[in-house]
Symmetry: C2
Subunit: 188 residues, 2 copies
């Protein structure tokens, strides 16, 4: 598990074994069952996660009670509820687990301490933020330029595993399409 995590880090930054070990030491293993909530709306997100295997997502619920999924994470991925994590304040976002998952988690305290102590960790985080920005930018572009059908087709083409592994309902909240419309689109 830690080996896979190491290569994720080393893809982005050049880091000594010693410093990597310091980072790894801050992560504690966690298991979470399908449908568990890791972070509820209004709580402060105090953890930074590495998802080793399984599947999780961040989402929020609108005033009208609709779920909107911001991001879906699969195996070998780093994530947190970033808005709340950055400010250490409550935010609207939930995190829940969609498949039985194995995780590593680091406390916010350790996270900021590592930023001070290990420059490579800061660089790694910076690159992660850059990637996240690019991802979000694409998401906005898609919302604004594509029709519901086009968004679905694009997901189907670029990330078919989303459609294989997730329920229709979760996909519809991710693409910002109603469940009924998605169901109709699929049969076209």
């Amino acid at each position: 598990m830690i080996e896979q995590f190491k290569s994720l880090i080393k893809d982005d930054v050049d880091i000594s074994e010693e410093n990597f070990d310091k980072i790894a030491a801050c992560f504690k293993p966690e298991k979470a069952k399908r449908n568990t909530i890791l972070l509820a709306q209004g709580e402060v997100c105090k953890k930074f996660y590495y998802l080793h295997s399984g599947c999780a997502r961040t989402f929020y619920i609108t005033r009208e009670g609709q779920e909107k999924t911001r991001k879906i994470m699969f195996d070998n991925f780093l994530f947190t509820a970033l808005v709340s994590f950055i400010a250490q304040e409550p935010h609207v976002e939930f995190i829940d687990v969609l498949e039985d998952s194995e995780l590593l988690s680091m406390s916010h305290t350790d996270f900021v301490r590592l930023l001070d102590e290990i420059p490579e960790w800061g660089i790694f985080y910076r690159k992660l933020l850059e990637k996240t920005f690019i991802f979000q930018n694409k998401k906005i572009e898609d919302l604004v330029t594509l029709s519901a059908k086009e968004r679905y087709d694009k997901l189907m083409k670029e990330n078919p595993h989303y459609i294989q592994r997730l329920s229709n309902r979760v996909i519809s909240t991710y693409l910002d399409i109603s469940q009924e419309t998605l169901s109709r689109l699929k049969s076209k």
Copy 2:
């Protein structure tokens, strides 16, 4: 001009005069007239800008020929066409100037050199990325949860200067509302 820029930096990081001067030395003054294009679609963005006074925006044009404004910048603000700037590859985004403006600009080469040489610059950039993330997150939330009217009202309430300083047309591309619909909303 440089003083105002300095306080923008110092709000986020603790930095020595010496190091600040190294950063400031990389910025070259530039003037740009209203309606100038700083970066055209498909070009690589090689500059990181400080907008001292005036107004600029980043936007792109869809296949159907519609303008979509990603971000509007006013006085005392740092910006670039981030997707292209990060990867140093062409991207769909334009930058144009909406009011006669005074800018400082730094080359991408200097930008990455400063990241290596001055850790505070890295920290500053990281915090900028965090803020950008939060901004984008709000933008997605608004697109997905609010009606056209609600988005307009929110802008009116939270950033009335947008409405005062910008044309109807630019605001409509920013809020992702057609010009006609925006015109109708205003008279309600």
